[in-house]
């Protein structure tokens, strides 16, 4: 009985917002991936959109390799924006804006843009499609970026940047 209560206490501290929000959201993210895969055989990752869209404005060889997929990647990303918009209208009751400082978003976004492309994937490509495929490359990729992100976030917080 006492150990049960201690266990619940730990769970409450680690999951202050419960888990259903996260679990349901995660299942839906997986379901979106699965719908596209079952229909087309394509593993849709989110970060390739960055390079494929750049092929519209740059004739560099690195971007031109994505010309064949750039149109549907644009549609996929548009779907992501609209799907989140549906959530905002139905559950959020309007727009929500972050308090994280613009310099963190801009500089962090820059590193994300370089890193996902050099590293062959992001949280969806490696994290969901790759890990779901039991790909050793993706598991190593996820462990790498997760570990570095944890250290980075802790260091930035320790230096007093908040939020």
């Amino acid at each position: 009985m006492v150990t049960d209560l201690v266990g619940l206490q730990v769970v409450a501290e680690l999951f202050p917002n419960g888990v259903s929000r996260y679990a349901v959201g995660g299942l839906l993210v997986g379901l979106g991936t699965v719908l596209i895969y079952l229909g087309t055989g394509i593993h849709a990752g989110a970060s390739t959109f960055l390079e494929s869209t750049l092929s519209y404005v740059s004739d560099r060889s690195r971007f031109q390799q994505y010309v064949a997929s750039r149109d549907w990647r644009l549609v996929f990303t548009l779907g992501i924006v609209l799907g989140a918009g549906v959530y905002a209208v139905v559950y959020q009751g309007g727009a929500w804006t972050t308090d994280v400082q613009p310099w963190r978003l801009l500089v962090g976004g820059f590193f994300v843009g370089v890193g996902t492309r050099v590293g062959k994937g992001c949280t969806s490509g490696h994290g969901i499609c790759g890990v779901g495929s039991a790909s050793k490359t993706s598991v190593v990729g996820v462990v790498t970026f997760l570990a570095v992100a944890i250290v980075t976030a802790q260091v930035v917080a320790a230096l007093g940047a908040s939020p």
Partner: protein, 152 residues
């Protein structure tokens, strides 16, 4: 593009809708939530990644065995396997710095725009800039391989 199945684009759109709704529902489209996770203040995000990977993994495991080819493309169902090299570690580490600094990854950033977070345009601008610069460098790296060199 011309010979593509008429349902190809609609299906990709619906998949994106569900994907984006899921990211918003899980609150992963909020950088604060990701930063709380990385600082061990709310570990709920584990369920987003493992939930998504579990659903996808089960499908990737079963589809190749139970189904023939994808109806809209005629392609075989395969696993997502990418070759491992140093880039995976270097790129992963650079991505980690960016993710830990901003709390934003590509898919969640698009979804964040959808929940009305206009400030995320800073992150999207940074991502496109980063993706462009790496593409610029790597396109240039590749050029000498195709150009005839004096030694040949």
């Amino acid at each position: 593009m011309a010979d593509r199945h008429p349902l190809f684009v609609p299906l990709v759109l619906v998949g994106g809708l569900v994907f984006g709704f899921g990211l918003a529902y899980s609150h992963m489209a909020r950088p604060e939530v990701v930063l709380d996770f990385l600082q061990f203040e709310d570990l709920g995000l584990v369920f987003v990644m493992f939930g998504g990977a579990a659903v996808a993994g089960l499908t990737f495991l079963l589809a190749p065995r139970l189904l023939g080819r994808a109806p809209l493309t005629g392609d075989r169902y395969e696993r997502r396997l990418k070759p491992f090299d140093r880039d995976v570690l270097v790129g992963g580490a650079v991505f980690g710095v960016g993710w830990g600094l901003s709390g934003i990854c590509p898919g969640a950033a698009y979804a964040s725009l959808g929940v009305g977070n206009v400030a995320i345009l800073w992150a999207l601008a940074g991502m496109f800039l980063g993706a462009y610069l790496q593409g610029y460098w790597r396109s240039r790296d590749r050029a000498p391989e195709t150009a005839p060199s004096g030694a040949d």
